[in-house]
Amino acid sequence: MTITLPNFLSPEPEKENPAAPAIPLPAEPEAAITGATTLSKAVTVPLGEGEAATLSQEAAVNESEAAAESAVAAEGAAWVTRQTVVAGSRELGLYRGMRFIRRFEETLLGLFEEGILNGTTHACIGQEADAAGVIEHLREGDHIFSNHRCHGHYLAWTGDALGLMAEIMGKEAGVCAGIGGSQHICAEGFMSNGVQGGILPTAAGIALAKKLKGEDTISVVFMGDGTLGEGAVYETLNMASLWELPLLIVLEDNEWAQSTPVALNTAGSMRARFEAFGLPVSEVESTDVLEISSHAEELVEAVRTTGKTHVLVIHTYRLCHHSKSDDHRPEEEVALRWQTEPLAVHRQRLAEADWQAIDASVEEELAGIVAKARALP
């Protein structure tokens, strides 16, 4: 572990964002960036192929525990397991998934500052619970379509951090050989495109294919609140409803679209926009991964069993910049939301030693990934 992380990547919330609240939150230990002591306890299932060898020892240690895991993990095949089982605990697994996404994104932003990366990126800092909570319930054969803010979804689904990092670095070993970059990623059961709106009918088309093939898998699409501005969305809602397609639409309302607050972009009611097309909506205002997950579980199950389109509206918040540029939101607004960021919320139900260990293991793993990715041709 020799790479130096830029200052703002320090895990103390105050440093993660200057606007972070002054009120006390569970403090993050120094161990988080050295993280040697608790490693063997925390790591279970490898993230990314490149990691498999390195981590196989620890993985073996925890295998028996993992086998005894909850129904959720049991039903979920490789994808779910990868994200959710840490030392036999789904809750720790979810934490690790979110922590990994958070630190991956922060690391990315640091690399941009360093000038290592080019182009642009959209971090989902503050919204990690959406990716973790929804994707936990998906299984092999399901398909995710994501948007410009896709890293969290991608990592939660594939765990392939090295492939994504290399992709964003523009390396040949990137998941799309550096052609797609941050917004245009493809892997088994996963695609993203940075053009707003058009992914909705595409995801519905994938759902139609599933229906025609008689598969019992589902298509999931993630969209932002601002994307409700695109007409393609409504054409899709209409057809998905008429044709009864196995589609789950996850609307991540993070209150902002680039520089525009939801009130300047969105008339009337989000929920009603879906219901007007006869689509059932489940709405949750939360950054708690378990709360989001329980809504998602219900909806995923509903889509799977009825074969019909359902909508999950998650009211959340983006804590970082839109991409890498200025953030003109009121400081107090952002600060307030740091108090309820998903990691802090979820940590409250974990033993401190457990999440500290995970933090440390994430640091270690990420450092390894960055080092490897940098070294790639």
């Binding site: 695609m191 759902a207 139609l208």
Partner: protein, 327 residues
């Protein structure tokens, strides 16, 4: 053998032989069977794979994208080709991007059928040949139906490969008889290009390159000029317009020393423009006159038949250009 029927048969064959094929479009199911009746009968036999949609061209394209990414073979009908404008984002920023931007990890072989063209008095928004705006979209094939090409071959080809396709059907072709083995002219084939002439190439004084409905008009003129005035030119009718197979054009124009292109779309950055640019380069110094590009006037297509006839390319404009080129 009426073109619309043959085309319908080609779609039927596609549905029959390939379970992945899905037809999608507005008003395409029975008893209506599409605005131009091409899909008549198909929904009755393939109810789940022939899907009539709301009036949502963007979603027709988007659903096609998703179907194709998921391994199906969507064939979308855009009721009037004019409305392909509403599919432009999907075609340019989604469908033709996926395979390349995902480094080959996915393919998106969606096919769009666009009933196009004028001469029916349908007016400015129901008569256009908008394919010119799709030529040169990277990773898109633009293919034109004609009476000289069996549509079965076209669809067999589309289903055997992975590149998205815009298939241009001139509306006036629908009621016409196929001319797969036309009398009066010697017909040979080179790839997707059909070569028609009254006499061997060595005796031709110009090459005419035309596609779609205009190719039929051109063939009639070529035949008439040969029979009535012993003016001999060679007509080339390609199916694939973009990217183009340049070889047949190059060989022919090199032999005749003179080239005319014909299209119904408006002039300026048109199909013939690219042909002219490429051939002017490849045959630099070898042509006896500049390439002549016949295209319609740069304006809207009037509803009035008289005005439409003056504005759109038709037989008179083609004949004048051929006579000139053959000199």
């Amino acid at each position: 053998m009426i073109f619309a029927k043959e085309l319908g048969a080609a779609l039927r064959e596609s549905l029959e032989t390939d379970e992945r094929v899905v037809l999608i479009g507005e008003d395409i199911i029975d008893p209506y069977g599409g605005a131009f009746k091409v899909t008549r009968g198909l929904s009755t036999d393939f109810p789940s794979r022939v899907r009539t949609t709301p009036i949502s061209e963007g979603a027709i394209a988007g659903f096609s994208a998703g179907l194709a990414l998921a391994g199906m073979r969507p064939i979308a009908e855009v009721m009037f080709g004019d409305f392909i404008t509403l599919c432009f984002d999907q075609i340019v920023n989604h469908i033709t991007k996926y395979e390349a931007m995902y480094n080959g990890k996915a393919t998106c072989p969606a096919v769009f059928r666009v009933p196009s063209g004028g001469h029916r008095g349908y007016g400015p928004t129901h008569s256009q040949s908008l394919e010119k705006h799709f030529f040169g979209v990277p990773h898109l094939r633009v293919v034109a139906a004609s009476l000289f090409h069996d549509p079965r071959d076209a669809f067999r080809d589309f289903l055997s490969q992975n590149t998205p396709v815009l298939y241009v059907e001139h509306k006036l072709l629908y009621p016409q008889h196929m001319r797969l083995a036309p009398n009066g002219l010697i017909t040979t084939r080179e790839g997707s290009t059909v070569r028609l002439s009254a006499v061997p190439r060595e005796d031709c004084t110009a090459t005419v390159l035309a596609y779609g409905y205009q190719a039929g008009l051109a063939a009639d003129i070529v035949e008439k000029l040969a029979v009535e005035e012993e003016i001999f030119v060679e007509l080339l009718v390609p199916a694939e317009l973009s990217p183009m197979d340049w070889a047949p054009v190059e060989v022919s124009a090199k032999a005749t020393g003179s080239l005319v292109t014909v299209e119904e779309g408006t002039a300026g950055w048109s199909w013939g423009t690219e042909v002219s640019a490429v051939m002017s380069e490849r045959l630099f110094g070898l042509l006896r006159r500049p390439v002549s590009v016949v295209a319609s006037e740069k304006t809207v297509i009037p509803s009035s038949r008289a005005k439409e006839g003056r504005m759109l390319v038709g037989s008179p404009q083609i004949e004048t250009a051929i006579r000139e080129a053959a000199k």
